[in-house]
Amino acid sequence: MYESSITKRILKPLLGFLLLMASYTFGQDVTVTGTVTDENKIPIPGANVIILNTTTGTQTDFDGKYTINVASGETLRFSYIGYAAQTITLTGQTVVDVTLVEDASQLDEVVVVGYGSRKKSDITGAVSSVKSEELNAFPVLDAAQALQGRAAGVVVQSNNGGEPGAPINIQIRGNTSINASSNPLIVVDGFVGAVFPQPNDIESIEVLKDASATAIYGSQGANGVVLVTTKKGRSGRLTVEFNTNYAAQSTSNQLDLLNADEFASFQQAINPSYEQGPANTDWQDLIYRNGYTTNHQFSFSGGAENINFYASANYFKQEGVVINSDFERVTFLANIDAQVTDKLKLGANLFGSRGNQNGVPTQSTGQTANGGGDDVVSSAFRFSPDLGVLDANGLNTINSVGDDIDNPFAVATESVNETKTDNYRANLYADYELMEGLSFKTTFGFSTTNIFDGLFRPSTLITTAGGNTGGRAIVASSQNTNLISENYLTYNKELGKGNLTLLAGYSYQKNRTEGFSAGAENFTSDSFSFFNLAAGAVQLTPTSSFSERELQSQFGRLNYDYDDKYLFTATVRRDGASNFAANNKYAIFPSGAIGWKISNEDFLKDNQKISNLKLRASYGVTGNQAISAFQSLARFDNVLSIINGQQVGAVVPDQAANPNLKWESSFQTNIGLDLGLFSNRVALSVDYYNIDTKDLLLADQGQPEFLGFLTAASIRNVGEINNKGLEISLNTVNVTNDNFSWTTDFNWSRNRNTVEALIGGLDVFLDASPGYFNIDRTHILREGETAGVFWGFEYRGVYQGGDLPEGTAVFEGAEAGDQLFTDVADENGVTDGVITTADQKIIGDPTPDFTIGITNNFTYKNFDLNIFFQGVYGGDVMNLTNVQLFNGDSNATREILNSWTPSNTDTNIPRAALRGKQISSRFVEDGSYLRLKNIALGYTLPSNVSEKIGMDTVRFSLSGQNLLTFSDYSGLDPEVSFFGSGGGNSSSANTTNGFDFGNYPNVKSYTFSLNLRF
């Protein structure tokens, strides 16, 4: 009885792992001892040692050692989760040391899913896994960056090029919303809504993509879920790791601009009285430099009989490639797991980080207040090259053409933008085995994110500070706290050939944000930075804010597997949220999935070629609780009002009550196929999905504005959007032998997005241009089109004078050499022969046709080589930089030298003239690219050498990032992300993509890394 229960546990590896150190005898002839280690000679504790075809066995202790009594001639089987099992037939030896090799097939790998884990082979949903090695192939600040190109259907983009500390945007399977965030839910070690730990501390990342996988997160699951598992200690020897790297960085590209002489003659063509300035300045040279990143990580982990731990400290520092920009971060992480009794397990995850970003103003919203002059990158392109940094009076120069902007060097060096971010998180859990197969887990966690922003513009920056304001300083602070308590029961039972797992739980979350800001202008001195607002003669309106959301939920899941062939999963979550409106406080999100392991059917079981074939299908509903706190209530708002020179209290109607407001719902179908060939040396996964998102929360543009509410368009659940796509991932082991191995991981994904319904079927226009362009409309939402296609004039080349070519027209007053556009007919099919705003149309679509990632890994003896390409095909880019540079009121690229003149008529560039800044197809370009994201050559010292110096492992690597980019795009980099005044918020990230303006430049790096383990 005792033995058989032990055996059962061994057969159920997950539970068996909890019970360490059980050894017993059965009265055999020989005592065999030995050590089980992994490839790096690290002992594996808890590995199973079984006498084949018996129920007799043991486990290794925490030094990886085992002792077993066994008859000669018997066969021992050594196994451990994630490693290929080995069998050794005894021929009289008494010492058997075994090295277990990680399982190439990875089919029995355990994959973390929401509130539990499953064998990968039993997964019925669409789940991608990214392993530690991929995350750490090259140094990144944010683990999210490392996901780029690694998982099909996952699009990762920096919100501002290579800016140190720029926010990273992740989108899974397209934008499932218009106004709400399309960013996935991040869950770290079970803590919902956490920030990413730093990459070196991550064991694995699972990306849950379909509703079957995400519905357990209900109203937070519509955008997919990223589950992060941090590293845990293993019983056995103490492991100490030190990882360090240094990367030298430079801008990957620069624009070819006019020099001072060329610029002056170009300006004189526009305005003959333009006088050339005294200097010849290359502003790009002045603001760019060689930057670097350096990252040091120190960790130690290990465990005693009943306790495991992992602790790490990390220091990251980046000097940006634009002068005066840098980022610094310190991170700590500790995980402790204790097996208190054989039934009770306790654990804690602790995380803390402080980031300190010193930015330069880039990618500004270009508000009219400063003519876009608070953006050093676009200013470096625009600013007159015939001016120096200082004028004859020793003052910072102001641009000699166009809006009065400060020169970019002055802005970069004199302005201060500092952001300090603190993140702390603690999560405790208790896991108690109530009875065989039934366990109860309770977690309690708390996190806080504190952000302090300081901005300062000295009085020497005339326009950037807002024009002779005598300097401006603003401070803002926000504090977000998140409390989470979750409790769930898991029950596991074998029923004949079937296996049943049940999960039921309750969760409570509370999220609270408080913030304030204050500012002043007109300082008595520039020496205060933003630390003495009282010294400002003009006080800006201070603000403070509060919001709070509560979420309480019940959730459950049923998994039933029959005969290791048929898999069934059903999930449901019921969410109640305080921010939901009075009539819709609760929501239910169900999903179901089936899987069929065809390769386990009799007719395929013995097939030599097909080692795995599985079909998966799922359907479910998930939500996006995009309603912000208090959004459904009738409200007043304050406005600024002045009576008799004094500011007075003033309120205005903000919005009417909407008691019916509810969450957005995504209805997702997923059909997937997994195929493994030749012992899974070729593994293919194909997934097709269709996501209908309904009840989209849209500002009701159909609500008449004459109703007089401050929020002119109140939020209603009306829109619909569809995403459908195909994802393919192919992993192959091309060559594997003792000295040489070559593997290839390939992923391909395509997402088509269509706006299905808008309020009243009306077009919605959006604007992602810099404010000083004075343009209202750059993108459009239209039923039947992709969300956020480009809106503007269709350029038809240069007008050669005389009669207008059929279907074209020019702006009023245009002459030969000016721009020719398509004359768009009105609803009656009539064209008016002149270009007005009525002649705008859809002129481009930023959505890529597909994205790919290709990784090749080679190992030869102790060398390893990683080559990682990432690419995007199709998708237009709007070169807003050129809208500015070809406008006549700024410097320009050398292309302008080919402007139309009466003697140079065969050109696409109109004559030199001042023009309004217009969005037209003239500036739409193909954004396809293929990028060598990383190439890394590593060398690991042979173990006999490293042992001599007291190390377990010593590895060096040299790598390069972004060294090559193949693209036809004429701007600096086809990976663009300018959002105008939207600044990358939820709505603009969903709908106003593909614009290039003033991005912090992307960088290329050369990196040296060293990893030590002892």
């Binding site: 309106t541 709070e548 921010n579 600024l640 020179g645 205005v652 007005t836």
Partner: protein
């Protein structure tokens, strides 16, 4: 069995410990205001009226979009910077489309002023206080509503008209246009209420007084050609100028100087900008729009040369008229040197070689910076000189060649002469009804130059064919169509939202 009980107890205990914070999910908003609990005192009514004033100083209204639109539609101010946005040029050239961005921009805000006024009037009913005391404050809201609808009805004709806060969005959102006649009747009724209950004087001209209501009644009647009523109301103001503390500001320049305008007795109602800005709330763009690009003379960072008078406006204005010097800047300062307007463009290619408006750049106050956006200007919506001109114009229509009417104009001309001691403009006398009608219109054009009045004069007097013809200041405006352009298009998106709204002729 005993074991089982123990297990169950343990489960219950663990669940008990862990299920914390079971919530009813009700929201308890903090930092936001709920309408039902807001109105408790007369001060709260004033706070709600202040919301209407606050909206008036937004960029969408007098900060830029509304005021610039009516300025550009007139015959005096042309586009300067040729690269300025199309939505502005369209108004100057009369090829405005129904989706024009200027109209879209201000339409919303103008109705927000009305929404705030309606909320104040309705909210007052929730306040338990002396009715007369309440009326004195509510009367401000009636004035604000009439003031705003008066602008709208002149620009759009028939209007969607709301006089109560909206609670049913669907019902309110599907109303038809109320005929202009009826809108005018409501405006007159609102102003009559204001006239009854507003005090004779207020602590500041940014609050309407009894005289303000009378002055606006006079202008409304004048606009409608009800000259007797117009004259009567103007006369009531003039006869009581002492009681209402009204007078012509001795130095015309002081009207456009932030340092002196606060104490002036000339404005009847003004919008106060005071360098307190919150985004585009309280942001004054007029100095930027009318100022000279790259000009250094006022230390506000120059202007943008967007709205620049036609050269012939300058050329056809007598140099000896002091008001010309106050209204124009014919020189700028560049690189420390004074330069004439004929070379403005040499210093900035987006400038234009014409004299610029000086009324909003010369005296922006001590805090002005940022191209003047932090000005301390008070914009006079109506000043006493206009009341005199209304009386003169109306009286002349009632009985031509009236000496009393000449005398109102002569008061204004005397003030103009006293600025520089010149003999220009001379007193008027002995004119016929037709001659004096033309003279008053011309006097309004010069006295109130660039003060956002001209378009309304052109429209009410139907002068378009003349002033936008070949002999007009800005040259011939080929697109001007008298059957269309006296009214703006109703915003196209607003028509799409409410199919019961109709478009104006020609659009």
């Amino acid at each position: 069995m005993k074991r089982k009980m123990k297990t169950i107890k343990l489960v219950l205990l663990l669940i008990g410990i862990s299920v914390i914070g079971c919530s009813d999910l009700e929201e308890n908003p903090q930092g936001v205001l709920a309408p039902e609990s807001f109105f408790n005192s007369i001060a709260d009514i004033q706070t709600a009226v202040n919301g209407a004033y606050g909206h008036m100083t937004h960029e969408d209204f007098w900060g830029r979009k509304f005021s610039l639109t009516i300025m550009l539609r007139g015959d005096m101010v042309d586009i300067g910077d040729p690269t300025t946005s199309l939505r502005r040029i369209e108004h100057n050239e009369f090829n405005v489309l129904a989706d024009n961005g200027m109209i879209d921009g201000f339409w919303t805000r103008v109705y927000q002023i009305i929404g705030a006024a309606n909320q104040a009037i309705a909210g007052a009913e929730l306040v338990d206080a002396d009715q007369d005391a309440k009326n004195a404050v509510i009367a401000q809201a009636y004035f604000a509503r009439a003031f705003t609808y008066f602008h709208l009805v002149r620009l759009f004709g028939d209007l969607p008209y709301l006089d109560a806060p909206v609670t049913d969005i669907v019902a309110a959102g599907s109303i038809s246009r109320t005929p202009a006649e009826e809108v005018y009747a409501n405006i007159i009724a609102d102003l009559a209420f204001a006239e009854t209950w507003l005090p004779n004087t207020q602590p500041a001209r940014s609050l309407p007084s009894k005289a303000t209501a009378k002055g606006y009644l006079a202008l409304v009647h004048l606009t409608r050609g009800d000259y007797q009523l117009a004259y009567d109301k103007a006369k009531e103001v003039i006869d009581n100028e002492g009681i209402y503390e009204l007078a012509l500001e001795p130095d015309f320049q002081n009207l456009f100087n932030a340092a002196t305008i606060d104490a002036s007795q000339e404005p009847l109602f003004s919008l106060d900008f005071e360098a307190f800005r919150n985004g585009d709330d309280g942001q004054d763009y007029a100095p930027a729009l009318t100022g000279i690009r790259s000009d250094e003379q006022y230390g506000i960072g120059g202007g943008w040369s967007v709205a620049v008078p036609a050269l012939s406006v300058f050329e056809n204005w007598d140099d000896d008229d002091y008001r010309k010097a106050v209204s124009f800047d014919a020189t700028g300062v560049f690189n420390g040197n004074v330069e004439p307007f004929t070379v403005f463009r040499d210093f900035n290619s987006r400038a234009v070689n014409r004299p610029h408006i000086a009324k909003y750049t010369r005296g922006t106050g001590t805090t002005a910076n940022n191209n003047g956006r932090a000005s301390q200007h008070n914009y006079s919506m109506m000043r006493y000189a206009e009341v005199l001109l209304i009386a003169a114009e109306a009286l002349n229509e009632i009985s031509g060649g009236n000496a009393e009417a000449f005398q109102y104009v002569n008061r204004i001309r005397a003030r103009a002469r006293s600025g520089n001691g010149a003999a220009v403009p001379a007193d008027v006398s002995g004119l016929s009804q037709d001659e004096f009608r033309d003279l008053v219109m011309e006097e309004r054009r010069l006295e109130l130059a660039f003060e956002f009045k001209r378009w309304y004069d052109i429209a009410r007097r139907r002068m378009g064919n003349e002033v936008f013809g070949a002999s007009g200041f800005e040259g011939e405006k080929v697109n001007f169509d008298p059957n269309q352009d006296y009214l703006l298009p109703m915003p196209a998106d607003e028509l799409a939202r409410n199919p019961n709204l109709t478009q104006n002729p020609g659009y």
